[in-house]
Point group: C2
Amino acid sequence: MKDVRAGVLLIGDELLSGRTQDTNLGTIAMFLGPLGVSVGEARILPDDARIIAHAVRAFSERFDYVFTTGGIGPTHDDITADAIAAAFDLSIGERDDALEALRERYGEGELNSARRRLARIPNGASLIANPVSQAPGFQTRNVFTLAGVPQIMRGMLADIGHRIEGGRRVHQITVVCEGVGEGDAAAGLADIEQAHEGVSIGSYPFFNDALRGVSFVARGPDAAQLADVERDLKALVARLTQG
Amino acid sequence: MKDVRAGVLLIGDELLSGRTQDTNLGTIAMFLGPLGVSVGEARILPDDARIIAHAVRAFSERFDYVFTTGGIGPTHDDITADAIAAAFDLSIGERDDALEALRERYGEGELNSARRRLARIPNGASLIANPVSQAPGFQTRNVFTLAGVPQIMRGMLADIGHRIEGGRRVHQITVVCEGVGEGDAAAGLADIEQAHEGVSIGSYPFFNDALRGVSFVARGPDAAQLADVERDLKALVARLTQG
């Protein structure tokens, strides 16, 4: 089975200014993992149509799937749909299927010109249902364009799983080692990684007032092999903490 | 005064797998804002030396300053220092000045080969003090390489402010509008942005069980002009919520 990889583009000035803490990347990664798709890179982009279009094009070529979040609302700073149309040289306009979805939520009086912008979607894209606030996301080639508000983004993921052909699933195990510094574990850890080809082991120190330690996280496609790695890691921890 | 901009590279497989939620980007953005530096783009990169080196080179050319976080610990998965040396074609080895910093923390017996890796720093780079765990960060040209653990990363920022020549400071005001949908505010908002050149206004809807509404965030270099924008936004809110 092949490795299937996704790129994620998180769009919005508010993410770069520190005003808003992104949580969508983690949600997308944990949604994709069980489908056999891993995230290869993410970018946090400003509200700049040229930069967005460039990154969409580059990621669409480089990854099997691309996810964008943010910039598809009704206000003047919402430019993602136009940037994606520009990236793929597609025309864009108000679409009847999208307007129909909006009419489930808004009466004709509420469907002002700003809200009609929510129906502005590149031609040829297929809609992604939005069970939270109706304004749809859309899929253009291998690019899924989702809302930025986390509740709405999560809701849209329900209409994406069936569009994805996953690959080799990556499994993960974690072994925690309390009271030991990373530098004391390093040599044993490198030995374990070398002994198990295809497994990557990360080492993540943690500190708090009461405790210091390291979490070892091993990832790989073979669950049986990971069980062996877990056994070796636990033996390493026993050796380190016995001293 | 000119605009001074930074790019941020957040390094680590754990950020892409959803295991770890990055918070360093927000910390760096809020540290840089008062210095007159805004963040133009951020990337979240895997532990892949080629990808890291490529991004470091690209960001170093494109931005006034670059910050990297993560990948400078003592274990085999810590490859940032080597990637940065490769990016700038610098030699790299164990440095005496860095070893000296490590000796403040570690006795000679504890300074094993893994911990000595913490002194592996590109030649020509200047050290960045680490008041939390001593292992230094470093500056290579306009690139600041910091730890990934948030407490340590924050500690290193104290040795960076004096190295930065900031530019025009961007001010920010926020006006919250409760009980109104974004689509009802859009037209008035676009008018306000058009009337105040150089000010960008973002519109961020929020939802919870009790409340929906929108936050308007205006950013610009001129505090007096932003006060005018704030007045106009408050008038818009009054108009919208009166209906």
